[in-house]
């Protein structure tokens, strides 16, 4: 029998989800063709916010890679737009003059961002926030420009604003209402949110109506109706979306706001379906993923002729993906004369919760500050539960289980990745999972926004009963249930000396561990016993094993050490010669004022190092990277201290040290702080007659300003205090925990207290000296050892023709 032809227009979240469901139900029924205007495989649009906020790379948000299309024999036309449908002959036409017949057609064209029709919207530097292209434009703009204005104080606008802050821009958010997220929050919650975001550095212009975007070619500013204006190098419009229906409409598919569909997602034209943001079901158009997935599931059943009840509409819930802010809202949120509400307002802890009740039934909720009840409330609303069920629920544990028990198997638990209750329970039972982390690993649930974590935890409890430990401590990885502190205790107590032994004695579930625990154990063992422990090369990440940074194409980069960022003509000449000889692709000055030689073949590394004859810059290490310095007293008219000299001393003292994560330092010679000490792990600022030591700063993914640790008088004290601080960090932080996260966790006062004890201070310094006593230059070590050279750096080339 001839396979039926299924064509999908729109390679986005809803459309591909539908294809996945169809492949599950009936893998061989269709020849599938997909058209997508964007030149990428299917990706997770939700995560664009995270890309902008720096937690995720664009490369990592692909949901189905090219190979997936191939494996499932789906013909994908990326970067190709369907321009018309001939519904009588069942054919689609594209902008590349292609013409494809269908037996069944799915339209899933999503939405287009709504651009306010202001004069000047077509200027350079005005963008929406919808796709990868927009995201890239914002990231690029932030390299050159400083000032961003986001129009729209809703979910999308705030996520964009947070991202732009992380990209180092100043951000004004312009909003037409008098409080934020007015469609999802009430005024109390909106104002609390505003305060928190102001603390994070956003500036709000509320009650403002934009009338004009100014500038010549590029935006310069934004004017308001009340006559005010602000400067802007970038304007991001996030005021709403509208269903992308023009192609369907012109082709004669009936539309209203969206493409009109029935409960089976059928349009009024035979054999044409619509799903996702472009579809209008029972006069509702949805702009969130969870409902689209529910639609996709029902539609797939219909297309594969499987019995189904059809789609009945969804209760919406939203969550803001901005770190440090927990906001959840669902269902009806504004009181009227029919509603009563249950409120908790704890200004002290910053918690606000409101549950709306209508004729005894829960109809909506707003949660701020503590959102763990969110998903439970959503489920209760979905099943039309009475308010008692929620209030009782809060008291007794078992009813939580009742709620889980009553959920249908196909109810989606993780909206981002479309994972159902059934899938999770099955994975828990069949693969003996016991932790949320494991469920995440096996099913993808809660891998994206993390909003469903508490539900996953409930499911585990439901499936495992008493065996489930609710207050799961953070184990060091999935190979063990022990926490970092427990592991370290056991190592000390049982005097364990190498990683395999730790794994054996402490009952690891895998014989040889994984890429998380191996490096962590290797670090802990070395930290606890620096003079005797023999570092395990195979437990190190490639960068640290080879002492060069691996690049995306498998070549490496080499950074020679340059104490304090100071170099001389002779060294530069040698670097230039080596760069020529080994055909280095690029030489670049790094953020820490060092020279980076990029694009080196692995096999060339040892000879390059010996010809450079300089120490390793450890630019790859979980250890001290660089000490950045300003010009200081010798040259600068403001300088009060010898910042270069001190920086060189610090770098010489701490080079080669292993730490839980990378450590960057800086020394500036006056409060102008040209070496940017407020975003360093240790930032020293020289004043007239004393030094200030700042710690716990970070300029990377999670921006954090360093806090003042101490003021000291002499250079020697700077060195000792830094040593005590770093040693305390080495001994107490988890592996891969930056000082910023660690200082935040334990608190600066705690560290100050510890260091203020004279004896502790001296002991820490002694243990630091011990750790430093075994340091060797990794490049020298490698060049000298034949086994290292052979095992690590040699590639074998078998000549052609040999047998």
């Amino acid at each position: 029998m001839r396979k039926q032809k299924l064509v999908l227009v729109g390679n986005g979240m809803a459309g591909i989800r539908a294809i996945e469901e169809i492949l599950k139900l009936s893998p061989h029924q269709f020849d599938i063709t997909v058209f997508g205007s964007e030149p990428y495989p299917n990706y997770n649009r939700i995560e664009l916010s995270k890309v902008l906020q720096g937690d995720t790379e664009i490369d990592d948000i692909t949901l189905n890679n090219w190979q997936w299309y191939e494996e499932n024999e789906i013909l994908l036309y990326p970067g190709e737009t369907v321009t018309a449908i001939d519904k009588d002959n069942q054919t689609v036409f594209t902008d590349k003059e292609r013409q494809v017949d269908y037996d069944k057609l799915i339209i899933a064209t999503g939405s287009v961002p709504f651009m306010l029709p202001l004069p000047g919207v077509d200027k350079d530097g005005v963008t929406a926030f919808r796709d990868i292209k927009d995201c890239e434009q914002m990231i690029e703009t932030s390299d050159q420009y400083k000032k961003a204005v986001v129009i729209g104080g809703g979910l999308l606008g705030l996520e964009a604003a947070r991202g732009l802050l992380n990209l180092g821009m100043q951000v004004d958010v312009v909003h037409i209402a008098d409080y934020l997220m007015e469609r999802q929050l009430d005024k109390t919650a909106g104002k609390m949110l505003q305060k928190e975001l102001e603390n994070q550095g956003m500036n709000f212009l509320l009650n403002k109506q934009s009338v004009k975007i100014t500038g010549r070619n590029r935006v310069k500013g934004l004017k308001f109706k009340d006559g005010g204006e602000v400067k802007a190098d970038l304007v991001v419009m996030a005021v709403g979306i509208k269903p992308n229906i023009s192609m369907a409409k012109e082709s004669g598919v009936p539309v209203n706001r969206g493409i009109i569909v029935n409960d089976y997602l059928e349009t009024e034209v035979p054999n044409i379906f619509a799903v996702g943001e472009c579809a209008e079901h029972r006069e509702m158009v949805y702009g969130l993923v969870a409902p689209l997935y529910q639609q996709a599931q029902q539609m797939a059943k219909r297309i594969c002729n499987v019995d189904c009840d059809g789609y009945k509409g969804s209760v919406l819930s939203t969550q803001l993906k901005v770190s440090g802010v927990d906001v959840f809202s669902t269902g009806k949120i504004i009181e009227d004369k029919h509603t009563k509400s249950l409120k908790v307002f704890d200004e002290w802890r910053g918690v606000y919760q409101k549950v709306l009740v209508e004729e005894g039934k829960i109809t909506g909720a707003v949660l701020y500050g503590d959102t763990k009840d969110g998903n439970r409330l959503l489920s209760l609303i979905n099943k039309g539960a009475m308010i008692e069920e929620y209030t009782d629920n809060k008291r007794s544990e078992e009813t939580g289980n009742d709620l889980i028990a009553s959920m249908p198997e196909e109810e989606i638990i993780c909206g981002c990745n479309g994972v159902t209750k059934g899938t999770i329970i099955e994975a828990i039972n069949n693969q003996d999972l016991t932790t949320v982390e494991q469920v995440k690993g096996c099913t993808n649930a809660s891998r994206s926004c993390g909003g469903c974590k508490s539900l996953v935890s409930d499911l585990l409890e439901y499936a495992l009963g008493d065996q489930y430990d609710q207050n799961q401590k953070e184990s060091i990885c999935t190979c063990s249930t022990l926490s970092r502190d427990e592991v370290i205790e056991e190592i000390k107590l049982k005097e364990l000396t190498h990683t395999r032994e730790v794994m054996n004695v402490l009952g690891w579930t895998s014989e040889e561990g994984c890429s998380k625990c191996k490096p962590a154990l290797n670090y802990y063992l070395g930290m606890l016993n620096p003079t005797e422990y023999k570092d395990e090369r195979e437990s190190r990440f490639v960068n640290e094993r080879l002492h060069a940074n691996i690049q995306n194409n498998g070549t490496y980069s080499v950074v020679p050490r340059m104490y304090g960022g100071v170099t001389n003509a002779e060294d530069l000449r040698r670097i230039a010669d080596v760069a020529d000889k080994y055909e280095v692709k690029m030489i670049k000055v790094t953020g820490g004022q060092r020279l980076d030689l990029l694009g080196v073949q692995k096999g060339d590394l040892p000879s390059m190092w010996s010809e450079l004859d300089m120490p390793s810059g450890s630019a790859y290490a979980k250890g001290l990277r660089t000490v950045k310095t300003c010009v200081g007293a010798d040259f600068c008219r403001f300088g009060t201290q010898d910042s270069i000299g001190l920086g060189v001393q610090m770098e010489k003292k701490f080079e080669g040290l292993n730490t839980p994560h990378k450590v960057k330092m800086s020394v500036s010679a006056c409060p102008r702080n040209c070496a940017e000490g407020s975003v360093k792990d240790v930032g020293v600022i020289g004043l007239d007659g004393e030094f200030e030591l700042y710690v716990g700063g970070n300029g990377g993914t999670h921006m954090r300003k360093a806090e003042l640790l101490a003021k000291v008088k002499t250079e020697a004290e700077v060195l000792n205090t830094t040593a005590a601080f770093l040693q305390y960090y080495r001994e107490n932080a988890s592996y891969l925990e930056r000082t910023s996260a660690w200082v935040e966790r334990v608190g600066i006062e705690h560290i100050q207290n510890v260091l203020s004890n004279k004896k502790t201070f001296i002991d820490l310094n002694q243990r630091m000296d011990e750790a430093l006593s075994v340091v060797q230059d990794p490049w020298k070590e490698a060049i000298k050892s034949e086994t290292l050279l052979r095992d690590l750096y040699e590639n074998v080339k078998v000549p052609a023709g040999s047998n």
Binding site: E511, E512, C514, S515, I550, G554, D791, V798
Partner: protein, 108 residues
Amino acid sequence: MEKLLNKIFVAKVNELPEKLGRTVHVHGLELAIFKLVDGDIRVIENRCPHKGGVLAEGMISGEHVFCPMHDWKISVVDGKVQKPDIGCVQTFEVKVEKDNVYVMLPEK
């Protein structure tokens, strides 16, 4: 039709590092050889199906290698990518005779 296989010498057993990978270029292919803790020798294609990470530089644990680029976990025995990611890399048959390691490659 059955494909002819070529038996090609790639290394001496005692020259292979333990618990570390080694890269071999042979007849236009790039292979990663691993000598596992139990002495077993395995050969797979040296590129991760995700974004082409070089697997020979990955961390090895039991019968799996973790890609150094984004940490995908891949079996060196059957080449399968472990959940939640999907995909697979090509594996090659290995013959060890005396102290010599041979890889079986399809005839070109």
